[in-house]
Symmetry: C2
Subunit: 163 residues, 2 copies
């Protein structure tokens, strides 16, 4: 286990979390202008959720410098065969390790902390969306592909917009 201090994410980490999210998606190949737009809106989305604790998580510190982070949420979800008594799921997002600190097990350490935190909060099932780079790590830790599908929705036609 690397000898890094751990601290919980707090409202002052707003810009750090935004940077981690943008860097993660940039490395996954998304266009810079899309990511600038995303971060503009993500910051406004994140601010109140850091303040009231709906968004929580951990940072690994190299002295005073955060070098890796993970975001966590409990999201409202209809009771499902995978969690028949619960109307929540854990959600893991914005897993990011500074390039200079990779291949040292930091992401694995953050994921173990995430599972422990979900367990403490009573969540029995969790999901995440993996980048291609992250998928093998998650798979080694027991995460499996789900059946989720997505689609970009076309804007309303002029006819239906009048309805």
């Amino acid at each position: 286990m690397p000898d890094m201090d751990v601290r919980t994410i707090c409202p002052d980490d707003l810009e750090l979390v935004c940077r981690h999210r943008e860097a993660m998606f940039q490395e996954a190949g998304f266009a810079a202008d899309t990511l600038r737009t995303m971060t503009l809106h993500f910051r406004d989305w994140l601010r109140p959720r850091l303040l009231d604790g709906r968004y929580f998580g951990f940072l690994l510190m190299n002295g005073r410098r955060p070098v890796a982070g993970i975001g966590l949420m409990l999201i409202d979800w209809p009771p499902h065969p995978a969690h028949p008594e619960q109307s929540q799921r854990g959600y893991v997002l914005n897993v990011y390790v500074d390039p200079l600190h990779r291949k040292r097990g930091l992401a694995r350490q953050l994921m173990a902390m995430a599972e422990a935190e979900f367990a403490q909060r009573g969540a029995t099932f969790a999901v995440l969306h993996a980048t291609e780079a992250g998928r093998p790590l998650y798979h080694r830790q027991g995460w499996r592909q789900t059946s989720e599908m997505s689609k970009t929705i076309a804007a309303p036609t002029s006819t239906s917009a009048k309805a």
Copy 2:
């Protein structure tokens, strides 16, 4: 297009939606006792969401008898490269067609209505979880596999439970 009347889901459809959800998962192979537990909790989860409209959707009616249904939600989601300006996603759930009325395009019709409804409500991106039986239909309509992964979370150990 089949000649079925359409109506929107309303609070009186609580039991019908529960039956559709349970039948859908039963056909997907989940155990009956798991599904009974799920429905017990799903009903309590659904009731307030039908009342305030957070859960909405459509039924296809054969006269006075609903023979197919679809549930829809707008779920809070961090702005993402697929919807950089929006903090919501459409979610499709509980798509169910009575066995006697299959192979007539009813699910396709419900999905087209779902997309139009999301578009009217301003959602530009939507997700769903497909059963094996449903996947080919969704794929034909342009839905694609996402990178979502899931894991069942172990209960806290006795040591950490004391923390």
